[in-house]
């Protein structure tokens, strides 16, 4: 996937917020977990609870390490009673596989890397159901958020899920890599705007979604973030290091009160004192305000707290805000 198509990041972003955008996210990894103990295994290996998933539904979850941090964040689909498809960040597939297979040794199940056999397209935006309805042989009005459906587009088998990473209504389409160009062309010809990695980044940030390697890493405790809802109170791998720990830092949203683009690694200041670090930042193409995620000292994490972001030696005033960063 390119950073952007000739349209440019800004127009691609606006297309997704106002109409329909199309992303090729085939770089994402896909792992299959199968076996009599698959549910029990994933209940222990991940932080959310797959036992709560109805068949065909998906959930956002996380893969913990034994130090109170994360190896990856994941999307988990329950395909059968004891069979799951896991969508992982491309850069983490090897680490995810190693961890899952290690934990799976105590369970009757196995983990298969299917990354090479799946292409993944994302059709996102308020007009995506209408557009997709014209090209698939299925009733999409009944397909709820996080639900999946097997269908076909131009004769190509497609597994649809009503999910996405933009904060808009939308679908993710899993298909065979050789079919992906056909499916892509059908959707693009139906009017979806091709979108690249750049718009994917600005959209997810504006929507307040985290990205592993930015907001979360091996040292970040999700219980100290707005994503603590993912972590269910049950036995799980590494629980002792994560559960009931104090939070010296918290993950917050920042809105800059003056011009400047916050970027990963920039310092967050209160007076002259460094109180945190920006993990992602951008100019919101929609609101034209500069927005960011940052880990800051817990004492400075309350909504409305005034602080600053250091940009090339200058302190740009900022305030702690609650994501998402656009009106919902």
């Amino acid at each position: 996937m390119p950073v952007h198509y000739p349209t440019g990041i800004h127009q691609e972003h606006i297309a997704v917020r106002s109409d329909v955008g199309l992303f090729d996210v085939s770089h994402m990894g896909e792992l299959r977990v199968v076996g009599d103990d698959a549910t029990a295994f994933l209940q222990y290996a991940t932080l959310n609870d797959p036992a709560r998933l109805k068949l065909g539904r998906g959930q956002y979850t996380m893969l913990p390490n034994d130090r109170g941090g994360l190896i990856d964040d994941l999307y988990l689909y329950r395909e059968k009673e004891q069979e799951y498809l896991v969508v992982a960040n491309a850069a983490n597939v090897e680490a995810d596989l190693a961890q899952l297979r290690e934990v799976a040794r105590d369970y009757d199940c196995h983990v298969v890397d299917e990354s090479a056999t799946w292409a993944l397209l994302a059709l996102q935006g308020p007009g995506s159901a209408l557009l997709l309805g014209h090209v698939v042989d299925a009733d999409l009005t009944e397909l709820r958020k996080n639900a999946t459906l097997l269908t076909s587009i131009s004769g190509c088998p497609v597994r649809l899920s009503r999910t996405g990473y933009t904060g808009e209504d939308g679908f993710e389409l899993f298909c065979h890599p050789t079919d992906a160009p056909i499916v892509w062309d059908v959707l693009a010809e139906a009017g979806a705007t091709p979108c690249g990695l750049g718009a994917r980044g600005t959209l997810r940030l504006e929507a307040g979604f985290p990205l592993y390697g930015h907001e979360f890493d091996a040292t970040t405790n999700p219980l100290c973030s707005g994503f603590s809802w993912v972590v269910k109170d049950k036995p799980f791998f590494g629980r002792e290091a994560m559960w009931d720990r104090s939070c010296p830092r918290r993950l917050v949203g920042l809105r800059l009160l003056d011009r400047g683009i916050p970027r990963q690694g920039y310092r967050v200041l209160r007076g002259a004192q460094a109180i945190g670090t920006v993990t992602s930042g951008t100019l919101s193409p929609l609101t034209r305000e500069s927005i960011a995620f940052a880990w800051v000292d817990a004492g400075a994490s309350r909504e409305g707290t005034e602080c600053g972001v250091e940009i090339r030696g200058q302190t740009v005033p900022a305030a702690v805000v609650k994501p998402p960063f656009f009106g919902q």
């Binding site: 952007h4 440019g8 750049g198 600005t202 400047g260």
Partner: protein, 129 residues
């Protein structure tokens, strides 16, 4: 990609206009704006500042990255394009006209003529691409 014949260029993708009463206008090239993608922020030098050629004097930021802009020639800053603060995307839409960055009173006119001409810049870009 546009490379107007009447301008001079640097290998770091700035352009310098012909002098008018000893003052040149400076911006970034069509190639540079295309490489950067959508520009979202600019930081400009202060009017009256004295610049030496090669100094990092401005910053153009796109969604992707922040890029330093270097003074292609020495001189003092006569004016800056304040309108870019509110509409930085003008650099993408019109890199050689509305998207100019700042105007310099030349300290030494020969510095300008020593820069690349349109043909020389074209070659520099082709090597990079």
């Amino acid at each position: 990609m546009q490379i107007p014949d009447n301008l001079r260029y640097t290998a770091s993708h700035e352009w310098v206009s012909e002098p008018v009463d000893g003052v040149v206008t400076i911006g970034i090239t069509d190639y540079a704006q295309d490489q950067l993608g959508d520009v979202v922020y600019v930081e400009l030098p202060e009017v009256g500042a004295t610049l030496a050629s090669g100094d990092a004097v401005a910053v153009v930021e796109s969604v992707k990255t922040a890029s330093d802009i270097y003074a292609p020639v020495s001189g003092s800053v006569e004016a800056v394009n304040e309108a870019l603060h509110d509409t930085p995307e003008t650099i993408n839409d019109s890199p050689y006209q509305g998207g100019w960055l700042f105007k310099l009173r030349l300290a030494d006119a020969s510095e300008r003529t020593a820069l690349l001409d349109a043909g020389g810049y074209q070659q520099a870009v082709e090597k990079e691409g």
